[in-house]
Amino acid sequence: MTDTDLGIAPPESQLRAVWAQFRKHKGAMIGLIILVLLVIFSIFGPMVWNPEKLSVAEALKLKNKPPALAYPMGTDQLGRDVMQRMMYAGRVSLAVGFVAMVIAIVLGTTIGIIAGYFKRLDGWLMRLTDLFLALPLIPLLLVMVMLFRDRMAGVLGPEGGAFVLIVFAIGVTSWMHAARIVRGEVLALKEREYVLASRAIGATSRRVILRHILPNVISPVMVAATLGVAEAIITESVLSFLGLGFPPDFPTWGRILFEGLEYITLYPERVIFPGLAISLTVLSVNLIGDGLRDALDPRIRGR
């Protein structure tokens, strides 16, 4: 491991080097483009694509239409334009997916590193992890919703409150895997020669962790992050389905997928579009993760 030069290099140029390497990574750039397109679709889509609001009776005459020019993704069982719903849904699903994933990963990595590095805290933190792993999820979420929904809704409105609650609920119930994995890696890493050497020359724990440990656990963390986004999007749909999430007229990708499932044999496009959107999001995160890992690895970057 030749990371002595890294310590000397000023941070901006390091960032630039990472970016330069990242740009060379074909997969990562494809991933980034897909993600940007999905974000544009969700944020700016509804401003461009804004079909006229029909009355119930009129809309029902147009129900279950296959994709066509007027409805690029068809219409649903109530005659609503699926594309417009997909756009609004994307805002929620992307936001929930990423924010919840970031909470889970930051929490999991921090706890994992502290537990793996400081032996005194290991026992306590891992028992806490066991506790969280053992808690049955649905009662936990039901209790959280019961205790906090009305308070949150009072402060942030029903949608804002639901968003904070869902993101928080998913975040605090899905950090444990990352924590266990990171801890396992750290246990092995901290006995490696370069870490021992660094400690021998008097480096503080903080420095050892940031310089030597953290960069080397990036790779499993990236996988956990990829899985985390997918899981958060799906978990959100399950929560909303149970009535623990967003109000029922609030579309999310998971919910559109869930609703479409009933009609899968009749109108397969109703599950294909939301399914595709979720898969593409996950794929893009994975590709970006791959690129990021390569870009952060000085051995590859040097080449």
């Binding site: 009355s55 119930v56 009776a57 809309a59 029902l60 279950n64 069982q77 109530l78 039901l142 019961m146 009305d150 009072g154 029903p158 389905f241 149970l242 009535g243 623990l244 109000p247 029922p248 007229d249 609703e259 009933e262 009609y263 044999t265 009749l266």
Partner: protein
Amino acid sequence: MMMKSALLGAVAALGLAPAAFAERGADGHVNVLYWQAPSILNPYLSSGTKDVETSSLILEGLAGFDEKGVVFPRLAESVPTVENGGVSADLTQITWKLKAGLLWSDGTPVTSKDAKFTWEYCTHPEGGCAQAARYEGIKSIDTPDDLTIVITFDAPKPNPYQAFVGGTSPILQAAQFANCLGAAASTCTDQNFKPIGTGPFMVKDFKVNDVVELEANPNYRDPAKPAFATMTVKGGGDAQAAARAVMETGEFDYAWNTQINPEMQAQMAAAGKGVLLNGFGTLVERIEMNMTNPDPALPEGERSTPKHPHPFLSDIRVRKALSMAIDRQILVDIGYGSAGRPTCNIVPAPEMFASDNTDCLKQDMEGAKALLEEAGWTDSDGDGVRDKDGAKLKILYQTSTNPVRQDFQAVIKDWWTELGVEVELKNIDASVFFGGDAGSPDTFQKFYSDVEMYANNFDGTDPEPYLGQYLCDKIPGPDNQWQGENINRFCDPAYDALWNELSKTADIAKRAEIAKKLNDMLTKDSYTVVALVDRGRLSAAANTLGGVVLNTWDTELWNAQDWFRVK
């Protein structure tokens, strides 16, 4: 679909019946699917439909209800009435006679003692009997001889066909359950899982919430029945998967409660392996109006209680306008298809009790708007939402989680938005919504919203207890741990007086007249309860299964002894 099943039944009855009925057990095996699997086979310990209906294959009462809601004898010789002297003229006594020579599936004789024991079993104060309501008002049961059961009531009982009638109150074998009285009831796992009965089948093996394996009862009273030697009742999955297993893959012969959307109904019917059967009972999907104020700003304990009337729903014009804005036929088309029909009544059946109230069936958006204007609700600031004295017309509309209900919410929200009402939707998991936990803010009894939607019905054919739910003293509140059935907090002394009259009236025509009046007071006269859809039952039967008659007044498996294989 109805045509097809009717034809099939007729063909089967005419051409094939004699051959098929020749011998017990001649037709082999039959597969039944209850996607909500039975968890116990003793209906006195669980009132879930899945448990009651599966148990009805094994346990029987003195009488049952047929597909028209008429009482017919099962273990009894005949149905006692005032005319044949079986019911005393003052309506305080009913005398049942058992058929002679009846045997339990273990070969011992059925006696009147068993019926008396069953009454004692269910009315034991520590037993927590789920069907206790069926035995209410019984003073004593006497058994002058082995075949005679005399039930004496505390007061005149206009509807004496409750105890021992229908799948919810069958007769247990005294010998088997002798040690299971009271608190011991739940330790009797063997008895509760393998009750000895008089029905066409007996339990061979039972796996909780999974599968029941049954075989023909060798001592069933008709030596030629049942035609099937064995039966499996399997659980798991959902309604759509259940329908598919009968209609598309043909793995099962009968599936219970296959409530699927109208388009799927059409697609599955086209697969040609089975038919969807439907029938209408008393289940009505409705919107309940909250007559009290659910404002979260009110202190806990006063929210949604009669202390604070609702700021605008207490005005009948607002309630009526909300009802007028709804097109019930569209709701049926979206959610139920042939298994639903629009209704304005909360008592849609039996026919003699159903009011001819149909004025809600036609949507009248303009009329509704005019009514709100008249009530003083105008859109003074031009934002599309009506207001009055600075307050906006804003409604929180809650219901349980269920795809059809969420579609209804979306569509009704559209109509009410057009009317100038702002609507916020909320859905709640059914286990919480119907759980009645006094600690939860989300139960339907607490009603912390302006309107809520769910379905309700009544047992059997008599609506008296059901209409009794709307009495003033049945209002849920903090003083009774929110356990009350008057969800709307409706309170009208005239209604209470009329209901008291109903409970004392014996003449059936007079009863029907009063019941209709009560129904109208809740619906078209006050719009407290806004009925939407009369929901039928929808079940699926394979083409090769004969003799199936869908019964909405008793258990769906009421005539399993007559089922046979179409060859």
